[in-house]
Symmetry: C5
Subunit: 363 residues, 5 copies
């Protein structure tokens, strides 16, 4: 992930992998997918035990689901469509569902097939790129596909290993809830970071409104937009999952899914607050810039205005009226204190103008 995240991400995220006219259900690796080899982690657990190991792709075809437990396949990397295909073949997942796994980015959603559900969510890991998490829920089986290594599931793995909470004693639907909740919970720290950026921009906008800030604001707004594109449909997906009356989700798990749905709404709330703040930042920037500009223009114009009458006075006494031809022609020029007097008059004029400007609060 050494590349600059923002520029590239935007371009990549927005592109679908398949050219138009591709056969539906075609499984090909995404053109810009990470080339890193696929890693497969198996968790097979029930109340008593928890087996955890790394799987070779060839083993998928012969996997079996534990009688009274749950099997969780966690697959990192989408560079090998063969893995996706063999998972699909082994567990009977629908070709269109498998295509959605590879054809990133999908909009977060819940798709119901005859005997399995596909839940697509989007993990947000700022400043890294966002990542698609595709989760299959079937009978005693959960399969997750992730684009890259690194995820927010470590605490779940820990709970599985150590038998914390009721994760091991509940079924695949509870694991599904736990995974979804982990994805949703990971939005909070990202939002907090973005929120801090918005707040720091708020201060900078007033103290030092320069054009680069506008670009930073635009950057944050885009980040927030991207989070929004991940969260808004996730909320719908969670709401749908909550109402889904599939046999795969037991009533007891619904109360937990509602909790997860509540979290998405809280995220939306925070998000909209930050978006509103970011939107008003632009106005404040423009207002601050124009304030500054006005300030500048005012001071400059003032200087000009003060000197104009002074120059006018100097101009008068630069006229060449012949003071010898007539006593009315600028007799001041040969007064003893003519010059000092004029200087005093000039200083007084300047003083009066400055005082006037100050009283009018223009200075």
């Amino acid at each position: 992930m050494g590349r600059r995240p923002m520029g590239r991400k935007r371009k990549k995220r927005i592109k679908r992998s398949h050219p138009p006219g591709t056969l539906p259900g075609t499984l090909v690796a995404h053109a810009e997918a990470d080339a890193a080899p696929v890693q497969i982690f198996l968790f097979s657990y029930d109340t008593q035990r928890c087996e955890e190991r790394v799987l070779r792709p060839e083993e998928i075809a012969t996997l079996s689901v534990p009688e009274n437990g749950v099997l969780w396949l966690d697959i990192w990397g989408l560079s090998d469509p063969g893995v996706v295909k063999s998972v699909g073949d082994r567990f009977g997942f629908h070709p269109l569902a498998l295509e959605d796994v590879l054809n990133i980015p999908q909009r977060p959603k819940v798709d119901r097939y005859e005997n399995h559900l596909l839940i697509v969510l989007r993990e947000v890991r700022y400043p890294e790129e966002t990542e698609q998490v595709s989760l299959f829920l079937s009978d005693r089986l959960v399969v997750t596909f992730q684009e890259r290594a690194g995820d927010p599931f470590d605490s779940i793995r820990d709970r599985l290993r150590k038998g914390l909470g009721k994760l091991r004693s509940e079924g695949a639907d509870y694991l599904t809830y736990a995974l979804c909740d982990a994805v949703v919970d990971s939005y909070f720290p990202v939002l907090e970071k973005l929120g801090e950026e918005v707040e720091s921009l708020e201060e900078t906008v007033i103290s030092n409104p320069t054009p680069p800030i506008l670009r930073e604001i635009r950057g944050v707004k885009r980040q927030l937009l991207e989070v929004r594109r991940a969260v808004w449909p996730a909320r719908d997906a969670m709401s749908e999952l909550l109402r889904e009356d599939s046999f795969l989700i037991r009533p007891g798990t619904r109360v937990f899914l509602r909790d997860c749905y509540d979290h998405t709404i809280q995220v939306m709330d925070m998000l909209e607050t930050y978006r509103e703040m970011a939107a008003s930042l632009v106005d404040e920037y423009l207002s601050a810039v124009s304030n500054r500009m006005n300030e500048t223009m005012k001071v400059l114009t003032m200087i000009a205005v003060i000197f104009i009458p002074l120059s006018f006075i100097a101009g008068i006494y630069g006229m060449n009226f012949d003071h010898q031809a007539s006593p009315f022609n600028m007799p001041e020029l040969s007064w003893r204190y003519g010059y000092p007097l004029v200087l005093i008059v000039m200083a007084a004029t300047a003083g009066v103008l400055i005082y006037y400007f100050r009283r009018k609060k223009w200075l």
Copy 2:
């Protein structure tokens, strides 16, 4: 509450206490919760009597709900998760519900569990911080959790003690209504205060539009936004409560809940009016600032423009044409009244320009 409310509040309010990956149902004190010790107040009443006392945490486990009356536990402070846990254990509240009590801030909502309801509301006490009120309604039982000491329930306690109204003769659902209504009613004075601020800003914006006012406007807008974040979901919660067909709410109480729902709508109405007024304040500020700026620029430019022709005249008579070489070369210079005449011409020019500007209403 001696600290500056606004800055801190915003930062705190927006943070969730649990780090991502926390076990669901984990009960830990909120990181920024007040450390003040938890206080527990018990009201146990029926039509005839009303017992009121302070409870020690150890007593919770052995509490019993009165046969024909209502038990109200009012708990102040969230610093001790043990209290929340023992309340939950004693009365069989769902772990997720208990988590919502501690994991502030929650969005106002109504969550229905098998034999109890959780109602989350947000108390707004401007300029103090807002505070979460979590209310459990179960059979003959109401439990309220508040973040801090201080609440709008004093009149309810009084009515319980003195047996005013029909509070003591009605059930737990009526107490629930009374408590919700008290929270909602407490929005009105806050809104009135904010409304007065908006109105005073309205006058200042026109009489003295300086940058600090923009910041004050932003402050009020944020306060209104915060109230909105409390009220909007509260309205939905009340509406849901109204339609809830739980056995916990008797039909006779619904008409009161509808009244409470009406109040939330009235709050929304006031709120939106103030928000609209506050939003237009920014426009008015900008318009006032630019008016003022224009005013300034106009006067300044005018001064400049008046002196420019005068300086030009002075410049002409500062030319060194040799009036001895030709009778056409500035004979004015040696006229008897040349200089006074020029001064008169200048004064006339200035006068004409000023008159012209006045007639054009530029001055």
Copy 3:
């Protein structure tokens, strides 16, 4: 009503009378209610006859509803909660409904109680204050509470007295319709007045855009907002009344209620048109102001620019090069027509500039 309507109204309208924590169903006079004594008018009519008289408060308790006719109590003034209470006691109205009568302002609404309906509407009488009309519809009974003397019901009273139309031969529901329709119809002349104000502002904004106009626009916008706050919920109330399947409203009356509902929609239509026009007024004001400003600046700058080159020419011939030291040093100064020539050059320069500006349409 001799007081200035706008300032006071806004403050009053937005305040609820009850302090938070008031016992629900408490009947106290609104703090800012008119202190004028309550007046009670009784209409008791059937197809044959129509009795009309003024009632003393004591008589309420012993009132009886006519067997085959309709009783209409029309009560003006809310200064005496005792009257409201005795009406409620006599006819069995719900305490919350009675509270809504006194606790002004209520949002227009229809509340259904066991055997009566409460319809709250808001009468708009520009430039006087708006006023709440609370209407109880029960079996053969209509009770209306109004804040003050003066209402749009005179034509209804007339129709009752003279037996015009089918008002006397229809039931209480038809009277309810007639009263609601009278309230809704009274919005039209108010809107027409406001519309005329908007249109006259539209012309002033272009011919004479001064800051006070902005304030007038704001005033009209607020008036429109107030009407909107009266009409929008009234529309919902009418729509609800239309769909209400209470035994109190006979099918034959529904077609009339639909007509009344249609009127509220027409009011909304007009209102939104005026609001849109008023909103664009601000933009036009700002555009006109800046146009005017630009105009000013342009002319002023032009004057400055024309004189600058002229002053420059004068400045050149004010240089003191020694034309005796060299034949190249400003020989013009001693030419016979040097001075007139320079004046001509100056005039030409000014002419050319003016011509150029005119052609560029800057002048």
Copy 4:
């Protein structure tokens, strides 16, 4: 129709004819209705024949509906309420429906009465005034009321006369569809004209942004708003008509009504596009004006700035330092080529400044 359409129309359109408090069902001519005498055209047709004649008002009372055909009364002009009344009496139309015919303008709508439907539409004939078309559909009967002579129904009359299409073989509902469709279709040419105006304004706004254009834009926006007020409710009316399960509309006709409904949606689409274009015109105008202003200011300021250093140079050599008192005092004044040199320096300064401005793209 020789009067200026826009000004008068707006004022008239927005006024309702009845003063508040009018008896419901009162039939009076609209105060501003055209005074032209009412014209009544009768079409009585079935598959075989089509009778067409002008009817005298007295004949209405004795009209009979053909056994197996359709009777279409087309009435032009609303100046005589007696005609409306006798039509209502003859065919049993509801008084409120008849009132809607006279009390223009009504919002487009469909009102269902016991055995007839009232369809109100608004004909748009730019630049003439819009006109209300009220259509009664009853058993084998269609009655249309129009405000004035002139309508888009000529092609329908032609089809009736010549027996084109299946109009004569279908029932009254099909005629209703045909009439509604004709009204809706007549929106298209109006919109096209308005669209052309918007497009021509778009070009003018950039080439010649003067204040009158703003007024023209406002005019077009208002026209579009007026069409919108006709079309938007017409769409709802059509949609309602489509879903209406009255015996008056046979299933086979529904597919045609859906087509008509589609047309209203297409009109809305066009309309919203034009409205969006017109809205952005104002922004473009303001941007063009300010561009132009900036342009002006830039050139003017530039001229000023170029001359300022030149004047400064001239000012230096206008100083009266005594070059005989010291060899350091302005010896240039007595150089042989002093003056030409200074002129050259001035020209060079001006050249450099102009070059600099050009390179900075300010010129």
Copy 5:
């Protein structure tokens, strides 16, 4: 397609072909339809075989639908209404549906007739004009009408010819899905191109904000608006198709239609992102222009302000006070180093001003 697409397209797209009052179901060629001759391609296939040939118009009347396969008629060009009519006659399509084929542009929609569906979509081929695709789905039959040659169906034809995927083994509904999906998929590359334009404009707006860019922005915004007009109703159409419980669409095909619906939502997402970006481009342009203008004004004013005090100093020493008449009268003029001193003072003044401006960040 050699003509300039944008200007002409907008004008054409928005015009309906039929003049108001046209007989419903009238089939006439669109006035601006391409005059190119109609081409008809037949695909008749089942699992085993696939017949593909060009059809002459006369053959349509005698066509038969294969027993166990699917017949796909693909018709290019709308210049001959006779072809549309004979297709309609042969397969019993409703006249209104046929009219929609010819009367372009129709809004994308799904219309259900007794035994066939009409699906109207809009193909977007930037920078060429958009094109209407009308698809009839009947029992074992699909007929597509396209405005011109060129479509995104080549890969489907290929799959039919080579028997790739399950296209040949599924029914007419699956072919319908494949065609719709091909149209929807073709939006992606167009959007990507427009997205690239938006992004390149984003850079240009900051580096070189000139008026033509505003026009380019407007162009892109309009393109996006046009795509939106194609996609938004297409989404509704797909959603309707998904919920359509016609016997023509088998349950197994629904999951594919849902996929297609998902794609339209993805397109909407991308579209709205680009639209938001394009909308903010205008603001950025205006901000960049005003920044640039401010920049210019600032530098220019600064130059002016620096020279004004200098000119004032020069003006002072241009005064003609008689230094022989008094020792106080400008003795500097005859100092030995008077002139150099004044020059130094001037340079110092300029330096101080420049330093001051730099420190204030105005320079």
